[in-house]
């Protein structure tokens, strides 16, 4: 059973060591800290970080973000090859001072909805009080200056994702178009579908703490609490 699910985006710029001397998106960072506080406030037995990666697999819970891969020669103790989403999730938990049990679960970016949902159901069943930290982003093609340039379909796609999350609608999340999500560089698709598989039958209550695309990538911070 999940005690709750926090959604957070996974851009490298979430990490203060990577953004230089000027504070970048303090409001996003604050929203992430807030959502983690909500998640941990439910006193879970375990926190599972779920994040998209090249391949599905569990990572050593002690792994950390490999900062040096983005910012040589910043030295750090990061784990080589740890998927970015998991590294950032681990970072957020560390920043909150969380010392309890955690798992780092990568979900392959090409996994179909059924596999994602099955994994989500397994995670929800794995303990009586599981908290999910679901890392992932919407489209990176939302503007002319976006990393993926502008694709006019991006806005509609991301709006559909947000509607589904606000309604706690697992079915709608599982029906997201996988090929379209990939075309739109919406990396969070498999992670949201893991979340969908973990949700209880009764739709949870959803609170959105942040939604914006300051750099042309859709970032969403939200908290889902089962009723």
């Amino acid at each position: 059973m999940i005690t709750g699910a926090a959604l957070a985006p996974s851009p490298p710029l979430l990490c203060g060591q990577l953004t230089g001397r000027t504070p970048v998106l303090p409001e996003l960072r604050a929203a992430c800290a807030e959502v983690i506080a909500r998640l941990l406030g439910e006193d879970p037995e375990v926190v599972v970080v779920v994040g998209p990666a090249a391949e599905t697999g569990a990572w050593d819970p002690a792994s950390g973000l490999n900062v040096a891969a983005f910012a040589p020669p910043v030295t750090g103790t990061g784990t080589r090859l740890l998927p970015l989403a998991l590294g950032l999730g681990a970072m957020l938990l560390d920043q909150a001072g969380y010392a309890g049990p955690r798992r780092l679960q990568a979900i392959g970016q090409d996994e179909p909805a059924s596999a994602c949902a099955e994994l989500g159901a397994d995670l929800a069943d794995s303990s009586a009080r599981t908290a999910l930290l679901v890392m992932g982003d919407g489209s990176a093609r939302r503007s002319l200056k976006a990393p993926g340039y502008l694709d006019p379909r991006a806005e509609g796609f991301d709006a559909g994702v947000e509607r589904a999350l606000r309604a706690g609608d697992a079915g709608a999340l599982l029906r997201l178009d996988q090929a379209l999500a990939r075309d739109l560089m919406a990396g969070g698709r498999p992670a949201w579908q893991v979340l969908a598989g973990a949700l209880p039958a009764a739709a949870p209550g959803t609170e959105v703490l942040y939604r914006d695309d300051p750099f042309g990538v859709a970032y969403l911070v939200a908290y889902l609490r089962p009723r």
Binding site: P11, P12, L18, G20, T22, N66, A69, F70, A71, P72, P73, V74, R80, L84, A140, L144, A146, P147, G148, Y149, M185
Partner: protein
């Protein structure tokens, strides 16, 4: 056409130890290793990132070539497609924008080295036929037929590291175990491939391509460790001018990046870069001459103070 030369396949590009660099041949010139060369950017586009459209009018563009030659440019780099994403520019349009202009520049400046800034072999073929001496491919060999064209025309080739990005795309969360090693192995592989295809090794240049498939930290790191690229023995070209890594380092908008660019130029020259692709030719020429004099490669222009 020159013989690809020495024996060996993959060993060919690796054989040089650090030490004396070789002569760089471009067009009919043979540039000694101490010569620091300025490549002036003349874009035949309406929408490049810096001063968009400034040389879109062919007459203005030709005048710009005259000016940069006066200011000390050794090479003029003529491009018809911006590096950033945007409306597609078909091959025919890219040719229309650049090839007649290359012919005009060749006629006006018979000795000037002309480079064609393109990644596409069809464009490179027409450009070389019109008089281009060097193919400047910033996208790292995306078109596998580009080396054929260089070999066919006896032209030179810039072998760049673009981090695997398709042309006209932006880096998205790029990460490297070691960006300099990645640059080194990618450019050496391209150079080796070019030699095997029949490109004259004396006409090959490597370019780490700052900001291409790299973030600001990566671009600073390759600058910091540029000597490792120079130590390969291949001449190194750097294209730093007004780039975002300068802007992000200094929090400087596009039109305030000259000092940062020149600082990077001086450091890169000191660490062994030989060709500098720039917008501001006169200032760059001054920086490079200063570095050469500090090195002892050239005397001051005129020394009388304290000597009278």
């Amino acid at each position: 056409m020159s013989d690809p030369g020495q024996s060996g396949g993959s060993g060919l590009a690796e054989r040089r130890e650090s030490g004396p660099q070789r002569v760089l041949r471009l067009g009919r010139h043979a540039f000694e290793p101490e010569r620091l060369l300025v490549m002036a950017i003349v874009n035949r586009t309406p929408d490049s990132f810096y001063q968009p459209g400034v040389t879109w009018d062919p007459a203005v563009a030709l005048e710009r070539v005259h000016v940069v030659v006066e200011e000390g440019a050794d090479i003029v780099d003529i491009g018809g497609v911006p590096a950033r994403p945007g409306d597609e520019v078909p091959v025919s349009e890219e040719i229309r924008r650049t090839v007649p202009f290359i012919a005009a520049v060749r006629e006006a400046h018979p000795e000037l080295v002309i480079s064609t800034d393109t990644w596409r072999h069809e464009v490179a073929r027409e450009a070389c036929a019109a008089g281009a001496d060097l193919i400047n491919d910033t996208w790292g060999g995306w078109d596998v037929r580009l080396t054929e064209v260089a070999a066919e025309f006896g032209a030179g080739l810039v072998c760049s590291h673009a981090g695997g990005l398709p042309p006209r795309t932006r880096p998205f969360r790029v990460a490297y175990d070691d960006v300099v090693d990645d640059v080194r192995s990618a450019t050496l592989a391209l150079a080796a491939r070019a030699v095997l295809a029949g490109v004259d090794p004396a006409r090959i240049v490597i370019d780490p391509a700052h900001d291409f498939g790299k973030n600001t930290w990566h671009s600073l790191e390759i600058t910091r460790r540029l000597a490792e690229l120079a130590d390969t023995g291949w001449p190194v070209l750097v294209s730093l001018s007004n780039k975002d890594f300068v802007g992000e380092t200094l929090d400087a908008p596009l039109d305030e990046r000259l000092a940062g660019t020149l600082a990077t130029t001086a450091v890169s020259a000191w660490l062994g870069a030989r060709v500098f692709r720039v917008h501001q030719v006169r200032e760059t020429r001054h920086v490079l001459s200063m570095v050469s004099a500090i090195r002892g490669d050239i005397p001051p222009a005129r020394a009388v103070r304290g000597l009278a």
